[in-house]
Symmetry: none
């Protein structure tokens, strides 16, 4: 159990709590308006702090707030990965993968705003010309990919999945996950109704797709 939070000095604890409130507000505003359109004025108002106070907590301004959201997001993503693929489970890879998709999709349903913001900005940041943000984003992403690559490599060694570059596969798994989430964010149209709506259905859908592909193994 992580006790770091409760053992921090009060001063520090309150500081973190306020950062949290601000990030929550930023998340909501960014989700509604988009990062570029959103104004710090509105974030501050939503957080019920003064505009200047934001700068006390995030000296790097708007950009730093976005990066903090990215970091927080990856914290949670890594936690879900670790939980889903916990080795002590001794369960088949397919089961763990399904748990992972189920977990991330529940997270997505609870915190759609955060995902909307990050899906919208992720590519923009990773292709940004500001190398510092790009590096930061890349590091965060690498963290998640590492966490996912480890159980993938283990599963390859156990022969549960075919041999391939584990990092690349981790990337492609996330790509499929994000693609499905993206689709779930879009306004519904006839053609899209087919997308599963619950976390467990979605987990099954993605697990089958990622593990078995579109082909028909049993008939080959």
């Amino acid at each position: 159990m992580d006790t770091s939070f409760v053992t921090l000095p009060r001063r520090e604890r309150e500081r973190l709590a306020r950062r949290g409130e601000m990030l929550q507000a930023a998340q909501e505003v960014f989700a509604e308006k988009g990062y570029n359109t959103a104004t710090l004025e509105e974030v501050a108002a939503r957080a019920e702090y003064g505009k200047g106070t934001l700068y006390n907590y995030f000296p790097g301004g708007k950009q730093e707030i976005l990066l903090a959201l990215v970091e927080r997001f990856h914290d949670e993503l890594c936690a879900i990965i670790d939980r889903s693929f916990d080795e002590s489970n001794n369960q088949p890879f397919r089961t763990s993968l399904s748990a992972f998709f189920g977990g991330t999709f529940s997270f997505f349903l609870e915190r759609t705003e955060l995902f909307v913001t990050l899906l919208r900005e992720a590519y923009r940041i990773s292709l940004s010309d500001d190398s510092e943000s790009r590096q930061f984003f890349s590091d965060q992403r690498e963290r998640a990919l590492d966490a996912l690559a480890t159980p993938l490599k283990a599963a390859m060694e156990r022969g549960e999945i075919r041999e391939s570059a584990s990092h690349l596969m981790a990337h492609m798994i996330l790509v499929n996950l994000n693609g499905a989430q993206m689709r779930a964010c879009m306004p519904k149209s006839e053609a899209i109704r087919s997308l599963p709506q619950s976390a467990s259905e979605m987990a099954d859908f993605l697990t089958d797709l990622v593990m078995d592909g579109l082909g028909q193994p049993e008939l080959n």
Copy 2:
């Protein structure tokens, strides 16, 4: 063969040519600086036209230019889809799919700038709060999905791939494609070296992944 272009009156032809020059310049500048950071001033300079002239050709300004790029991109995407899945080929779906991945990846390698811009902005537009752009983007995307869903449905009927919602599958195929392209755009790191670099290797990689998944059919 489409002869419409050569038979247009000269006036109109020149107009289209100039639009093309401007779109090309915009594409480059957007790719380098990002849509938000890029200024129309710079686009105009690159196109070697005055700022005002851009507005003669794209009265809606920056936004309209981006949407025109989106449209042009989808024109080319649809053409590749149609070419790859041309029914008269009578080739297996897997072969056509590989041709499609090969084709789009060649396109991507030739016009990386366009892809960078669109990958970066696609999510932003599709989740934008301006419903007009969102709709436009959505319509273009639907065009490509329709083009891809048709051969998918045929393949399902022929039993070459398993039954599933064809539009959704079309979406997931594009998602995998874009995910791989995205990866190819990123600055290389140790972990990523594994990504195939040539169009044909990439086509094989994606075809295997999408058709067979990560599992090991032969062992099941």
Copy 3:
């Protein structure tokens, strides 16, 4: 009878006719949008000429067009003044003044657009910081004031009106006229219904006001 028009060489006659069409178009557009908001593009379109053509006829551009309207307006105003106060009539000043008000008001009702434009811009031009326009406007205005001051002076000499500075009185007469016209242009409200609507009623109203004032001569 002024035969100058018909005896001009054809070339010149056509030129004048085209200027007239352009001025008419400008008048309408300026009246609808206001001088500043109106664009030459729209004036050209309304006149059914190209934008460049306007510059062939009015090298000074937008400004020159406005000044030409000012000139044309004063031509007509002077003509009405001359007609109304024609000495050969031998009628009382009060009768002539009433004819003048009736005449200008008919003119106003027929060509409200022109008046709207000029009322709107007159003060702006006369207080403009461009001394050339100011001078031009001032000269035109002076022309009308002179035309009106002459019969005023005669009426003073005949004892029909009291002695006073004839130019100043001419100015005040026009001020009263314009004020009434202004009122007639405004959207009607309860309070304003009282303004006479026909040219002859308006003539009576203004004549009484200007000649007798608000007081009650009969009771003095």
Copy 4:
């Protein structure tokens, strides 16, 4: 005595003071350059504030500043009207009217800039195609007309002036006043020297004109 100002909280008081400084600067710049030619940049510089600060105080920009000037102007105009026609005076209407002309003319001499701007823009606004400004201007004007119509009606009832529509007469009185002020703003020419220059002479001139007209009551 209105003590509201002094009892406002300091914050609010300072805010009003700054608005005042900005309006003063705007007035001067508008008077010099004309509303259309003047730039907010220059207004801000004159007020010794940043451009952005103007927008904190007048979010509607240039237009809102002009309307604020219009409002302030009518506040002062109404105050002069109320003061001049104060019923408790029990003085003849003619005396009050003369006081009114004297008061407004002193105001005009002190604050010629404000008048120049408003005379120049008044017609433009009242005939503007933006219905919001037009309505605002119209409401302000109505306020002054109401203030003036009340004593006019009383004077009619007392038989001091002849029966007529009081609002219309109020309008015509203001028209005469503005016409004279207009004349006083113009660059002097031979013909115009005749205009009285002091407030009291001007008051007499306008009072006579408005009350008695041009005719010669004693001889009729």
